[in-house]
Amino acid sequence: MTAPLSSPGTAGSHPPTPARRAGGRQGGGFRLIIVLLPLLFLSVFFAAPFLVVAAISLGDPMLARPPYTPLFGPDGFQGDLENYAFLLTDSLYLSAYLNAVKIAAVATLLALLIGYPMAYVIATSPEPRRAVLLMLVVLPFWTSFLLRVYALIGLMNTNGLINSVLSTLGVIDAPLVMRQTVFAVYVGTVYTYLPFMILPLYAALVRRDESLAEAAADLGAGAWTVFFTVTLPLSLPGVVAGSMLVFIPVIGEYVIPALLGGPDSLMIGQVLWNAFFSARDWPLAASVAVVMLGVVVLPLLFLRRVVEAR
């Protein structure tokens, strides 16, 4: 697979022809719509709900419907940062955040290590095998996520498939306890989010110019040198995109640790759930959510900076 040598830089350097300019003007209104639509979508479905959550986080719990004090009472503004101060006084919140970040980071790394070779093989496979392999990556999405987690429960039960096979083979004497452990949480998260790692990696790898790797090999570079100096840097946007698609949702993950995890895999999503449901403390839960957004956004900004620096 070779790309035409001319493409990127040279096309832009030609002076625009009148026809293209006309097309550009036509595109002006169209472009405005293209920009406005996502903006509208984000403000309705992200910014507005987030502001509601932020407003709740400044209130106090109250026995009412809804169960919190409004931001503006009879004496005007009555919000305060008490809930955020409370998050700092109790070590539970910090340790649950750190645990979530740790689990998300390890899961991302594992997904990268497993997903990269898979994406590489898919990207270098000839058609039609490539299409089949890609299909297999996407296939699990055809079943509900919850069902797949329950299937994992069935596999990892003490009298489940894995344990019965291992004990039949005589590998183990007593059944392994796999459910309700951090191990199960890693299995669950890596399994669930692997396609989100593979697809962007595949997209980056399939786009890369194979002739560059060939040139490096011709100049005497070994297979590993070619990989680390040519292939990997070229696929870095895919690595970053895939890592973000795994890391960000895993930080806030609730279902997987709740169903598969045990006492030592407490993540911030469960703490939020407890504050919201068990304690009926919506303002505290809202402040946990606001802080969680911060925890997610900071690594994201960092990653973007890494990519832009290249």
């Binding site: 026995l63 449901f277 068990s278 403390d281 505290l284």
Partner: protein, 359 residues
């Protein structure tokens, strides 16, 4: 003529008010297989039936409002708090002639949570005790295993041995913590924050041996032998027993109300204040209070009902099972749950998180 036409349309329109769709939100595994079918056949009202497995999930929806449900089934102490928050509408008792079937003593006991039973009718009631795999527990702890005492799950020496076959607890702080307080010699109906430290001390010692805290997973896990002891709800344990029997795996599942006492609770039918179809909800409550319908539900879910007229129709082995309909002595030992204020709520939730995670 015109008036006559108008009158006739009104006549046709009148029963239509009780038609349409009824949206029910009930506990999982908590109704007979044919109840909804019979209701629709009798009234022409179609039913959307949705389920939950914890009071907390229901409560979040009730407190948020506009849940879209016409009929929900909160447990008594949750109901009490939600009534105070203004979540339920008073029942129109003229539409509930079958109230006459209800057991006056039990309805009176439930009125502690809802004065005059103004907002609610008892659906089923039960206890929070211990479900156990008879053979496995006997195998591990011997013939005289203390299955009729909280010592089974609150004494580290028992729990250490039982942890090999798996022990679970409900993820329900307001049910497990009072049992631990009671075991430590305190008042299970306390509202003093320091009493919960006693519960924490009890649970702290057995925590390493608890497989998990969850409020519905234990049904299938008890049935399949994944766990052998569960601090759980009476009827759910009986469901597990029935499933083990269906599966034919030879597991006998027992349920006991511990001698030290246990929580007795009422699940109450109530209509949210913003229910889209309260007419249909009233019709359903009245329908459930038919003796045959209530008896069918008890015969299927193995929870006690509070419908005196239904008792002759309840199967004999269910009626005589002390785990379902407690003996008078066990009844005297039951405690009720108390609604906590928001300050105590924070303490209880925090204690519970420490119990569950050690943090």
């Amino acid at each position: 003529m015109k008036n006559l036409l108008l009158a006739s349309t009104l006549l046709i329109a009148a029963p239509a008010a009780a038609e349409g769709t009824l949206n029910i939100y009930n506990w999982s595994d908590y109704i007979a297989e044919d109840t909804l079918e019979k209701f629709t056949a009798a009234t022409g009202i179609a039913v959307n039936y949705d389920v939950y497995d914890s009071n907390e999930v229901l409560e979040a929806k009730m407190l948020a409002g506009n849940s879209g449900y016409d009929l929900v089934v909160p447990t008594s102490d949750f109901l009490q708090r939600q009534i105070a928050a203004g979540a339920y509408q008073p029942l129109d008792k003229t539409k509930l002639p079958n109230l006459a079937n209800m057991d006056p003593d039990l309805m009176d006991a439930a009125s502690a949570y809802d004065p005059d039973n103004a907002h609610s009718v008892i659906y089923m009631w039960g206890t929070t005790g211990i479900g156990y795999n008879v053979d496995k527990v006997t195998e591990i702890l011997g013939e005289d295993a203390p299955v009729d005492s909280w010592a089974l799950v609150f004494e580290p020496e028992n729990m250490e041995k039982l942890s090999a076959c798996g022990v679970s607890f409900l993820d329900a702080p307001t049910e497990i913590l009072p049992a631990a307080i009671n075991y430590a010699g305190g008042d299970p109906m306390t509202t003093e924050a320091e009493d919960f430290e006693k519960a924490e001390a009890v649970l702290e010692r057995v925590r390493p041996y608890i497989r998990y805290f969850h409020s519905s997973q234990y049904i299938s896990d008890l049935a399949t032998g994944e766990i052998c002891v569960a601090g759980g709800w009476s009827g759910e344990v009986f469901i597990a027993a029935a499933r083990a029997e269906e599966a034919g795996n030879g597991f006998a599942i027992g349920y006991s109300i511990p001698n030290e006492g246990a929580l007795g609770w009422y699940d109450m039918l109530a209509i949210p204040v913003d229910a889209p179809n309260p007419e249909a909800a009233h019709a359903f409550i009245n329908f459930v209070m038919e003796p045959q319908i209530t008896a069918d539900i008890t015969n299927y879910v193995w929870y006690a009902n509070a419908n005196a007229a239904s008792m002759p129709l309840v199967e004999e082995d269910i009626k005589s099972d002390p785990g379902i309909f407690p003996t008078d002595a066990a009844k005297a030992n039951l405690w009720s749950s108390v609604a906590y204020d928001s300050r105590l709520d924070r303490t209880v939730t925090r204690t519970w998180t420490r119990v569950k995670t050690g943090q």
